[in-house]
């Protein structure tokens, strides 16, 4: 009979048990890494090749010889550029405010009072994505008051409809991450009215969801072309399109700058939340240790 302690001497039990798993895991990992690499490469190529081509085109000198920054230095002096940029930024701000004012209380109300209808609201908020912009515009123009039709702020309302699916989902995810019912009831039991509960308790704890909603709304507004063009407002994308007929290099340079600017704004907004998450994680680790 072999004593229990002698089993190890006959063969390495741990190795017997663990090695096949290790081999399997390593092989699987290599396979996953390989496919990941291909997907990453293709995705990168899809996004970066056009940007590279645009960058090269905007930097090319006269007759395709040498490199020059003249397309970039000429941007500020182009007719209509500043106005178009300013309008786009105003629309981004207005759309963001409209969306947050409308959607934060709505999302909170749905979570608190109509949780059974969340799926229904999920479906409803997808509608703007599946309806073509031209249909939306015709519908909006039918019902919009006359004084609004002549102002670019009509666009902010239209963009609000477009942004609704993204904003609703961002807020929905944020609200799911907190114990909304308990926080609201705690605030109300302490004397908080609905307004102060929303402003002092819900909104600060919804920061990630709010930032995500803002990022998506700003990105959408700064890049939207169809609605602005059909409504005959010259936003930055419309200006770029129109200007491309006159000077392709400057128009491409503006596109790239707009891309970089949008990217910087989005990174800055995301960084706000990232810093908070890191601070929270650090204090949690400190508390844990």
């Amino acid at each position: 009979m072999v004593a229990l302690g002698e089993v190890d001497a006959l063969f390495d039990v741990e190795e017997f048990i663990e090695q096949p798993q290790r081999r399997f895991s390593a092989a699987r990992l290599r396979s996953v890494a390989w496919w990941r690499g291909i997907v990453l490469f293709c995705t990168g190529a899809f996004f970066l090749i056009p940007i590279y081509a645009a960058l090269r085109f905007s930097l090319e000198g006269p007759n395709g010889t040498g490199f020059t920054l003249s397309a970039y230095t000429a941007i500020p002096s182009q007719a209509g550029f500043t106005a178009a940029l300013w309008l786009s930024l105003q629309l981004a701000a207005a759309t963001t405010v409209i969306m947050l004012v409308l959607m934060v209380p709505t999302s909170v109300y749905v979570h608190l009072r109509l949780p059974g209808l969340r799926r229904f609201f999920d479906s409803i908020t997808i509608v703007p994505i599946v309806i073509p912009p031209i249909v939306l515009i015709i519908g909006v123009l039918q019902v919009a008051p006359t004084f609004l039709k002549s102002t670019p702020y009509l666009l902010a309302l239209e963009y609000g409809i477009l942004a609704m699916p993204f904003v609703y989902r961002s807020l929905d995810a944020g609200l799911r991450a907190i114990d909304l019912k308990t926080l609201v009831e705690a605030s109300r039991s302490l004397g908080g009215r609905w307004g102060s509960t929303l402003w002092r308790v819900v909104v600060p704890n919804l920061r990630s969801g709010l930032l995500s909603a803002v990022v998506l709304t700003v990105a959408l507004v700064l890049g939207e072309f169809t609605m602005a063009s059909l409504d005959l407002f010259q936003t930055l994308p419309v200006w770029i399109y129109n200007f491309a007929q006159d000077d392709g290099s400057v128009s491409t340079a503006v596109s790239l700058l707009a891309l970089v600017l949008t990217w910087i704004v989005l990174m800055a907004i995301s960084a706000l939340d990232l810093r908070r998450i890191e601070r929270t994680a650090k204090t949690r680790m400190d508390a844990g240790s």
Binding site: A186, R188, G191, G192, P204, T283, A287
Partner: protein, 385 residues
């Protein structure tokens, strides 16, 4: 009471209110969460709502807080109907089961939140918040955020936050259930001490009988939206009104028996039904199958080679040892033996006897409430196995 305690207590003025819940009814679909629920809390009294999950205890508390609407019934605070008063105007402090501190605020800001809502000035707010934090022993943690504190600390801050507004009623919705055992015991003692000192009328919801019995002036045992019994912890334990209460509060043995001429035949003995003549439930037909309910301390066990019981388990419980004895290869009963008594080892044959004290009889297999119950008196030393 120390000077520090006195100073901290001065932050919260005692002002317990009389709470009357009259004929409350609330249904959720086909389920009756509250069914003719009536309860009165005297000023400064701590009443625990005790019952299994889904019995309606949290609904009753939420109705009092104003978070739940009623199908019927009235909620009165010092005689004033609360039907049209929203939660934020009821002056009730509430501590929730889950950690309910506002994550974006420090402990001090959390405690001061209710004062801010009452438009108390900044300096006074800060002073009061620190005093109340001192009362719960957390003045040094005032600048910490909830995620920097342990669960026990968070619930103490939540308690301080509820007390800071000088509530007329304190509502505790299973505030200890998320805490580990040691912290739970410490915090429940702290809550009881503060509540007694401040004399705040308190409604405490729990499913933990130990918590309810150790903290409350009176315990209200609930089942399916109705009150089974409201009494002091000692009465509830010693004189349960129904088999449900008897079995829900403390440990209870259920020993099958059969009615026989106003007596109950119980394994090897018969016992008198004491109140059989005076209660309609006592008029059970002969040969009716019943269960006799008896607490572990109502039984005694002695080693006996001829006994028909076998000791299956022994559990040391501090002052007593609890023995699990299988009677007639069929019925497992628990018996509490003083540690000073002769020990009966596991596996040995034993004889179980009834001590001289009232036991109850209930319909066979009844869960409680619907069953009738009367006291029965065993003859001293009746051997049941």
């Amino acid at each position: 009471m120390t000077t520090t305690q006195r100073r901290a207590d001065s932050a919260v003025k005692p002002q317990g209110a009389t709470v009357e819940l009259r004929g409350l009814r609330r249904r959720f679909g086909a389920t009756a969460a509250l069914d003719e629920f009536s309860l009165t809390l005297a000023p400064g009294e701590l009443v625990a709502l005790l019952g299994p999950s889904g019995c309606g205890k949290t609904t009753a508390l939420r109705v009092l807080a104003g978070f739940e609407t009623l199908d019927d019934g009235r909620v009165l605070l010092d005689g004033r109907d609360q039907a049209r008063i929203p939660p934020q105007k009821r002056d009730m402090g509430m501590v929730f089961q889950s950690y309910s501190l506002f994550p974006n605020m420090t402990a001090q800001d959390n405690v001061a939140f209710g004062l801010r809502m009452r438009k108390v000035g900044g300096a006074q707010r800060k002073q009061r918040a620190l005093q109340v934090l001192e009362m719960v022993g957390l003045e040094s943690e005032a600048q910490k955020y909830p995620h920097q504190m342990s669960g026990g600390q968070q619930q103490r801050v939540a308690l301080a936050r509820a007390l800071a507004i000088e509530p007329r009623v304190l509502l505790l919705d299973e505030p200890l259930s998320a805490l580990d055992a040691k912290v739970r015991v410490q915090l429940r003692e702290q809550i009881r001490v503060l509540q007694t000192r401040l004399k705040i009328t308190t409604l405490f919801v729990t499913h933990d009988q130990e918590e309810a019995l150790s903290m409350a002036d009176r315990v209200c045992v609930m089942r399916a939206g109705r009150i089974e019994q409201v009494d002091t912890p000692s009465t509830l334990y010693a004189v349960p009104a129904t088999p449900f209460v008897a079995e829900f509060v403390g440990t209870m043995n259920r020993i099958p028996g059969v009615v026989e001429d106003g007596r109950v035949r119980l394994l090897d003995t018969t016992v008198d039904i004491r109140t059989a003549a005076s209660t309609p439930q006592g008029n059970r037909a002969p040969e009716t199958a019943v269960d006799v309910l008896v607490r572990p301390e109502g039984l005694a066990v002695t080693a006996s080679p001829s006994g028909r019981g076998i000791v299956m388990t022994t559990t040391f419980l501090g002052s007593v040892t609890r023995l699990g004895v299988l009677l007639n290869d069929d019925v497992l009963v628990y018996v509490d033996q003083p540690n000073s008594a002769a020990q009966v080892p596991v596996g040995s044959a034993a004889e179980v006897t009834l001590r001289e004290r009232d036991v109850m009889v209930a319909d066979r297999g009844s869960g409680g409430g619907g069953a009738s119950a009367e006291g029965v008196v065993p003859t001293v030393g009746d051997t049941i196995s």
